[in-house]
């Protein structure tokens, strides 16, 4: 975990002071609504349906127990006792008062946290794999790179007023759990034949109104050039990205218009000037940052297979939980545990202040005082001893975190939707709940197997519906809420965008629609085929026919 030095700390304290004055001037009428808007957005502050929403940055999803307790305190003192894990690993509060925001930021600064650039047309929080540093399939730990990029993005003077928002994700594993191909920039550390470290660089991915899988424009960028190359990409985008139409302003539109090849040439032309400059990264800086991400004090342990198998026999619930919520770890005797924030009846990603305190406590006792958030809106304890899994499971059950559904149909990615968000066309949380209720039989859920079901309440796509194996999009039809279904999306390596099934459905039809889709899958699948595999083999038509057939 990166620990601030006096410079990092001073920067966020300066920000608190700056935003306190900006808020004061706004409330005193010295700053107009229009002048204040980008300033508050770049501090993660939206004006929502009922109150402002404050999005607090969780850089690449890493939190300490101390920071988590601060989240709990803010939920308690300034909100209605809960917080929400967002689809970009951040934490959102839905009820703070505008007047209180400077005080909240001051409290956050005491635990090295902030809300800098969590919204607005600027460089946003960098995201990564929630299993970074512990995944068995990891090639390079992406976290030092995330932190280096985070510092580069923070108050970058040239790129604070971009045409549109800008999201960077970094993945360091064989599997891509960071969905880098649907980001404005996706980075993947790799080694070349000589064993040197560099990056594969993708640009122009994104969801939203015009979903696009990005294009790799550089297969090996020497790591020393990383920040210069980001400067070059952002400079090209800042100068030539469209500003006349906010729906065509993301970098993906520019990359498409120019073609990835021409875009890459423009970046290279810029690099000709920037390469070798002062922004070239140094061994010393890489070392300084990387030393914050060395392994914790792992014990020399053996895997606990036999004992766990016995526990599985004795406790079928434990066995089920282990199948879904516990992952292999790079160290023998350890495991990474996902706490499900998706029990039926709770808005996906929501946690109460008491639960946050409980998570902090569990992190202290089971996982070196650290935890992570995932873009699937769950929480991870990354370094749990296998011999402690049963004890942990018992505690997770008491706190409502043990729903064994990670990666299954009910582990729904879902934006806050029309219940909270002023952009939404339709509610999303009640749709998620009605589907979870329909699939409440655990045996059946397990039988269906891995399935990404993602719901967005509008085409801004915060719920990542385009990359759900099943995607659901809320649409407004003459003032009524309807839901469009798409199939075949995927955010993993070789990402794909879902294809729309057909005309949209009323809210109360949705559980039936999903059930019919699942029926088709169950009937047609071959052994070991996941929903997405069957879909890719048989295509959309059998699903379409079933769902839209007359009289059923």
């Amino acid at each position: 975990m990166y620990v601030y030095d006096e410079y990092d700390q001073r920067i966020i304290e300066d920000r608190v002071k700056q935003f306190r004055d900006q808020t004061r001037r706004y409330l005193a009428g010295e700053l107009s609504e229009e002048e204040f808007r980008p300033l508050r957005l770049q501090n993660g502050l939206y004006i929502q349906r009922f109150a402002p929403m404050l999005r607090v940055a969780v850089p690449y999803g890493q939190l300490t127990s101390r920071q988590t307790r601060m989240m709990a305190k803010i939920a308690r003192d300034y909100d209605k006792g809960y917080a929400h894990i967002s689809t970009r690993q951040n934490v959102q509060f839905n009820w703070p008062a505008l007047e209180d925001i400077p005080d909240i930021l001051a409290e956050l600064a005491t635990v090295q946290m902030h809300a800098i650039q969590t919204s607005g047309n600027c460089l946003r929080n960098v995201t990564t794999d929630q299993f970074a540093g512990v995944a068995a399939d990891e090639l390079v730990d992406p976290r030092p790179w995330c932190e280096i990029v985070r510092q580069w993005t923070t108050f970058h003077p040239e790129f604070a007023y971009l045409p549109r928002k800008f999201k960077i994700a970094i993945n360091g594993s064989v599997s891509d759990r960071a969905a880098i191909e649907v980001h404005d920039i996706g980075l993947e550390p790799v080694r070349n034949e000589a064993g040197e470290l560099g990056f594969r660089v993708l640009v122009g991915g994104g969801l939203g109104r015009t979903p696009v899988v990005g294009a790799f424009i550089n297969e090996f960028l020497p790591w020393q050039d990383l920040l210069s190359y980001l400067d070059a990409i952002l400079r090209v985008y800042n100068r030539y990205g469209r500003r006349d139409n906010k729906y065509k302003a993301r970098i993906k539109i520019l990359v498409k218009a120019l073609t990835p090849e021409v875009f890459a040439e423009k970046v290279e032309a810029e690099m000709a000037h920037l390469r070798g400059g002062a922004t070239t990264l140094t061994e010393a800086e890489l070392h300084r940052v990387a030393k914050h991400f060395v392994d914790p004090q792992y014990k020399a342990l053996n895997d606990f297979d036999k004992e766990l198998a016995e526990l599985d026999q004795a406790h079928p619930g434990f066995a089920r939980w282990r199948t879904r919520n516990v992952r292999a770890h790079k160290k023998p005797g350890y495991a990474a545990v996902t706490l499900s924030l998706k029990p039926t009846g709770v808005a996906p990603g929501d946690v109460t202040d008491k639960q946050l305190d409980a998570i902090a406590d569990l992190a202290d006792r089971y996982s070196f005082g650290q935890l992570r958030t995932s873009h699937e809106q769950n929480v991870i304890l990354a370094d749990v001893e296998q011999s402690q899994l049963h004890a942990l499971w018992l505690e997770l059950r008491e706190n409502g975190f043990a729903t064994p559904n990670i990666g299954l149909l009910t582990d729904i990615i879902c934006c806050p939707g029309g219940d909270f968000c002023s952009l939404a066309n339709a509610k999303s949380i009640p749709i998620a709940e009605s589907i979870q209720r329909r699939f409440d039989d655990l045996d059946y859920l397990f039988d269906i197997g891995e399935l990404d079901l993602n719901i967005s309440g509008c085409m801004n796509a915060c719920g990542h519906h385009h990359v759900g194996h099943i995607g659901i999009l809320g649409v407004d039809k003459k003032g009524e809420e309807f839901y469009q279904v798409s199939l075949g999306g995927s955010a993993s390596r070789d990402a794909s965008l879902g294809k729309i099934l057909g005309p949209s459905f009323a809210q109360d039809a949705m559980p039936d629609v999903i059930e019919k889709l699942i029926d088709v899958y169950v009937e047609q699948r071959t052994e070991d085929e996941r929903f997405i595999d069957t879909y890719q083999r048989i295509g959309i038509d059998p699903f379409k026919e079933r769902v839209y057939a007359a009289n059923n």
Partner: protein, 164 residues
């Protein structure tokens, strides 16, 4: 008379900022002008021959490369912000300073507000024509918003990682 922030002080404006449709025949010999880019393109020889000061201004959709190596022909280069949220001229500023070595006054004009001043200054602006309805003395305060910065920029050629 408009007041300008220049090198951290408030000074009276002495330059005439000419609109894009300005008629060249109305130019006097001795006044100081900041001319639109097109006027410079069409009449550079004549403009250089005058006795008065010469500046040029670029709109947000015009490119630093169009001035390029000629940058130091001007005492002032002004970059226009049609809206304070239009960030293109931050990049133009850096190109003029860092790539073309412009040493003169680099001035922000248009929708220039105090809360952008710190970033503008980092990108090489040293003069700011604050929007007339705002107080330039208050705006001066914002140049002190941050005491540490991470990135290399025009005001600080080394990134923090080479200084910490």
């Amino acid at each position: 008379m408009q007041r300008i922030i220049k090198n951290n002080e408030i000074v009276d404006e002495t330059w005439h900022l000419l609109p894009k449709d300005f008629n060249i025949d109305e130019l006097t010999n001795c006044d100081d002008y900041i001319v639109p880019l097109q006027l410079w393109r069409d009449h550079s020889r004549m403009l250089k021959a005058r006795d008065g000061g010469l500046g040029v201004w670029l709109d947000a959709d015009e490119e630093a490369e169009e001035i390029g190596e000629d940058a130091n022909e001007f005492q002032v280069i002004a970059l226009n912000f049609p809206a304070f949220t239009d960030g293109r001229n931050y990049s133009n500023a850096r190109l003029l300073r860092d790539r073309y070595g412009f040493k003169g006054e680099l001035r922000a004009i248009g929708d220039v507000l105090r809360d952008q001043l710190f970033y503008l200054h980092r990108c090489g602006f040293d003069a700011f024509a604050i929007r007339p309805d705002k107080d330039p003395y208050e705006a001066l305060e914002s140049l002190k918003d941050f005491s540490v910065t991470y990135q290399a920029a025009t005001d600080e050629p080394l990134p923090l990682f080479r200084r910490r």
